[in-house]
C-alpha cells in the first residue's frame, strides 16, 4: 500500500474537498492503484538533474512583458453580476473574522 485512508483524508483537507465514507474507501483504493503505478518511474533509477533537467514547459518561456499602462476593462459590472453573493462592488462571503 502506497496510499492509505489517512493520506486521502489529509489530501482531501488540503484540496478543500469533503468526502463521504464511500468516497474515502473508493478513492483510497483507486488513488493507491494509480500512485503505485506511478512508482514505475523508479525503474529509471535516480536521474541526475545535470544530465536530465526537469521540463516544466516545452517552450523556452521567458515571460513576455508589456508596458504597464492602466486601461479600463469595461467589464466590471459584467464580472460582478456573475457572483453568487454580492453587495455593491464587493463579493460577499461567510464571516471570516469574529
Amino acid at each position: 500500500m502506497t496510499i492509505e485512508r489517512k493520506d486521502v483524508v489529509h489530501v482531501a483537507k488540503l484540496a478543500r474537498l469533503d468526502l463521504n465514507e464511500d468516497e474515502i474507501e473508493r478513492m483510497t483504493r483507486q488513488v493507491d492503484q494509480i500512485v503505485t503505478y506511478m512508482r514505475s518511474l523508479d525503474e529509471l533509477g535516480p536521474l541526475d538533474p545535470a544530465d536530465v533537467p526537469p521540463t516544466a514547459h516545452v517552450l523556452d518561456v521567458s515571460c513576455p512583458l508589456r508596458a504597464d499602462e492602466p486601461r479600463p476593462s469595461g467589464q466590471d459590472e459584467a464580472i460582478l453580476e456573475r457572483a453568487p453573493g454580492r453587495r455593491d462592488r464587493f463579493y460577499t462571503v461567510p464571516k471570516v473574522i469574529e
Partner: protein
C-alpha cells in the same frame, strides 16, 4: 430529398464555396444542420447547449452582408460548434461540470472570436468529460454522448461531443481541446479528422485551463482539407496568451494534395507492442504500406521511454489541474453551495457538490504529488522523465519527417465498460500523451473499421511547427483510402468494412 435537405452531408470546403457563390444561403445551410440535429440529437447527445435561434440570426446577418457585396470571411455562413471548455460571449460555459452550470461567459475566447470574424455560425456548445478529464465523455455532469457509428459505444473523450457532432452530420466542423489525446482519440473513435497543433500555435485565451503546459485547442471535421481550413482561421499569435507563439501561420490547405513522395515516415516500434488490438494493428500497418506505395520512405525508429509516458502524464496533468481548479471556490462565479458556517466550510461544500468523481480523483492525485515530502519523488521526477520523452522524439525526428502509428490501442469501449477502472482508461492514453508531453503536433485520420463496424484511426506526429507535413501525409492517406467526408447514417447500419 431536396438539395437543401442533403446540405448537411457536404464538406465544409464545399458548403463554404456554395454560400460564397450564393448557390445556397447561410440560413439554408444552418437550417439543414439544425434539422439533422433535430433528427439525431436525442440518440447521440453531442450538445450541452444548442441555440438554433441565435444561429439562424447569425446566418441571416451573413446573408445580408453577402447580399450587399460586403467582404465576408473564409467560413462565411458555415455552421460549426464549440467544445464547452471554450468561452463564448453570452453563452453558458460549463466545462461539463455542475460547478460552472450557472456561468455565462462575458467574453469570447480568441479562437471563438477568430471563427466569428471568419463568418462561422455557432450552433452551440458540445458535451465533454468534466473539465476535459476523461477519454469516454461519460464523465460529463450532463450525461454521456454516444458514438454515432454504434450507439452502445463511447465516442471517446474528452472532446466526445465535438467528434460525435461532426460524425453525425450535425455541423461541418467543431473545436476541441487536447491535453493528453482529447482531440485525436475521439476523432479516431468517431471516424473523423482531428488535429492537435503544436503547443503555442493556437491561443489558449478563453480556454478553461486543465493542465496549462499541455492544453492545446484544435479543430475536428470530416476531411483533412476541412480541418486545415479551420486551423488557418484559429492559429496565430495572441498577446493575451503568454505561451502563444509569434510565428507565421501557413496555407495548410495547399499541403493536402501534395503527396508523400520523398517524405521519410518513422514507425515507432513501441507503438506496435503488447496491448495493441490486432484489428487496430492490422489497419494501421496496411495504411503504412499504402503510404509506402505512394512514394514515402518507411524507417524504423524508437521511442524507448513510451512505457513511462502514462505515469509521467498522470503525475504532471493532475498536479497542474489541482492548482488550476483551486479557483472554483463559490466566491466569484459559478456554483455556491449554501452560506452557513465558515468561509472554508463554504469552499468545501461548494467543491464537494460541484465536482464529479473523476475530477475529485485527479485533484486528490495532483494535491498528493505536490504535497510536502512527495514533491521530489513524484513531480520533479516526472518533469525529468518528460525531458527523456522529449529527447526520444527529437532523436526520432533526426531520422524521419513524421511518425505514423495508431491513435488508441483499442477500438471504442462499450458505454459503462471501463468506468469503474480509472487506471485501465489512463493506460489507453499511452499513444497520444507523449505528443502533449513533448508539445508536438499530431493528427488523427480515419484508416478503417473493425469487424464490428467501429472506426479505427491513424496518428501522424510531426516535429514542432510542422503541421504542413501532417497535412501532406494525412491528405495523401485520405486520397488513397476513400475515408473522406463520411457521415454516420444513424439508421441502424454500421461503419462497414475497411476501404
Amino acid at each position: 430529398m431536396t438539395a437543401t435537405d442533403a446540405l448537411w452531408k457536404l464538406s465544409l470546403a464545399e458548403v463554404a464555396r456554395r454560400i460564397r457563390a450564393k448557390d445556397v444561403s447561410a440560413e439554408e445551410a444552418t437550417r439543414a444542420c439544425l434539422a439533422r440535429v433535430a433528427a439525431v440529437e436525442a440518440r447521440v447527445h453531442s450538445f450541452i447547449h444548442l441555440d438554433g435561434e441565435a444561429a439562424i440570426s447569425a446566418a441571416r446577418a451573413i446573408d445580408a452582408r453577402l447580399a450587399t457585396g460586403d467582404e465576408v470571411g473564409p467560413l462565411a455562413g458555415v455552421p460549426i460548434a464549440l467544445k464547452d471548455v471554450l468561452a463564448a460571449e453570452g453563452t453558458a460555459t460549463t466545462c461539463g461540470s455542475k460547478i460552472l452550470e450557472p456561468f455565462v461567459s462575458p467574453y469570447d475566447a480568441t479562437c471563438v472570436a477568430r471563427l466569428k470574424r471568419a463568418g462561422a455560425v455557432s450552433l452551440g456548445k458540445l458535451n465533454m468529460d468534466e473539465f476535459a478529464m476523461g477519454s469516454t465523455t461519460e464523465h460529463s455532469a450532463f450525461g454521456p454522448t454516444r458514438n454515432p457509428w454504434s450507439l452502445d459505444h463511447v465516442p471517446g473523450g474528452s472532446s466526445g461531443g465535438s467528434a460525435a457532432a461532426v460524425a453525425a452530420g450535425e455541423c461541418f466542423a467543431t473545436l476541441g481541446s487536447d491535453t493528453g489525446g482529447s482531440i485525436r482519440q475521439p476523432a479516431s473513435f468517431c471516424g473523423v479528422v482531428g488535429i492537435k497543433p503544436t503547443y503555442g500555435r493556437v491561443s489558449r485565451f478563453g480556454l478553461v485551463a486543465f493542465a496549462s503546459s499541455l492544453d492545446q485547442i484544435g479543430p475536428l471535421a470530416r476531411s483533412v482539407e476541412d480541418t486545415a481550413l479551420m486551423l488557418e482561421v484559429i492559429a496565430g499569435h495572441d498577446p493575451r496568451d503568454a505561451t502563444s507563439l509569434d510565428v507565421p501561420t501557413a496555407r495548410w490547405t495547399d499541403e493536402v494534395g501534395k503527396g508523400v513522395k520523398g517524405l521519410r515516415l518513422g514507425i515507432p516500434k513501441e507503438a506496435f507492442g503488447e496491448g495493441l488490438d490486432p484489428e487496430v494493428g492490422a489497419a494501421v500497418r496496411a495504411s503504412i504500406e499504402r503510404l509506402a506505395g505512394e512514394g514515402a520512405e518507411i524507417v524504423d525508429v524508437e521511442l524507448p521511454h513510451t512505457p513511462y509516458a502514462v505515469a509521467t502524464y498522470y503525475v504532471l496533468a493532475p498536479a497542474e489541474a489541482s492548482s488550476n481548479l483551486a479557483r472554483y471556490d463559490g466566491v466569484r462565479y459559478g456554483l455556491r453551495a449554501g452560506q452557513d458556517g465558515s468561509l472554508v466550510d463554504m469552499y468545501k461544500r461548494t467543491r464537494s457538490a460541484g465536482f464529479g468523481d473523476e475530477v475529485k480523483r485527479r485533484i486528490l492525485i495532483g494535491t498528493y504529488v505536490l504535497s510536502a515530502g512527495y514533491y521530489d519523488a513524484y513531480y520533479r521526477k516526472a518533469q525529468q522523465v518528460r525531458t527523456l520523452v522529449r529527447r526520444d522524439y527529437e532523436k526520432a525526428f533526426e531520422r524521419c519527417d513524421a511518425l505514423v502509428m495508431p491513435v488508441a490501442p483499442e477500438p471504442p469501449f462499450k458505454i459503462g465498460e471501463a468506468t469503474g477502472d480509472p487506471l485501465r482508461l489512463y493506460l489507453s492514453d499511452v499513444l497520444t500523451i507523449g505528443v502533449n508531453l513533448a508539445g508536438l503536433p499530431g493528427i488523427s485520420v480515419p484508416c478503417g473499421a473493425s469487424k464490428a463496424g467501429l472506426p479505427i484511426g491513424l496518428q501522424i506526429v510531426g516535429p514542432p511547427l510542422r503541421e504542413d507535413t501532417l497535412f501532406r501525409v494525412a491528405g495523401a492517406w485520405e486520397g488513397v483510402s476513400g475515408w473522406k467526408n463520411r457521415v454516420a447514417p444513424l439508421d441502424g447500419s454500421s461503419a462497414g468494412g475497411a476501404a
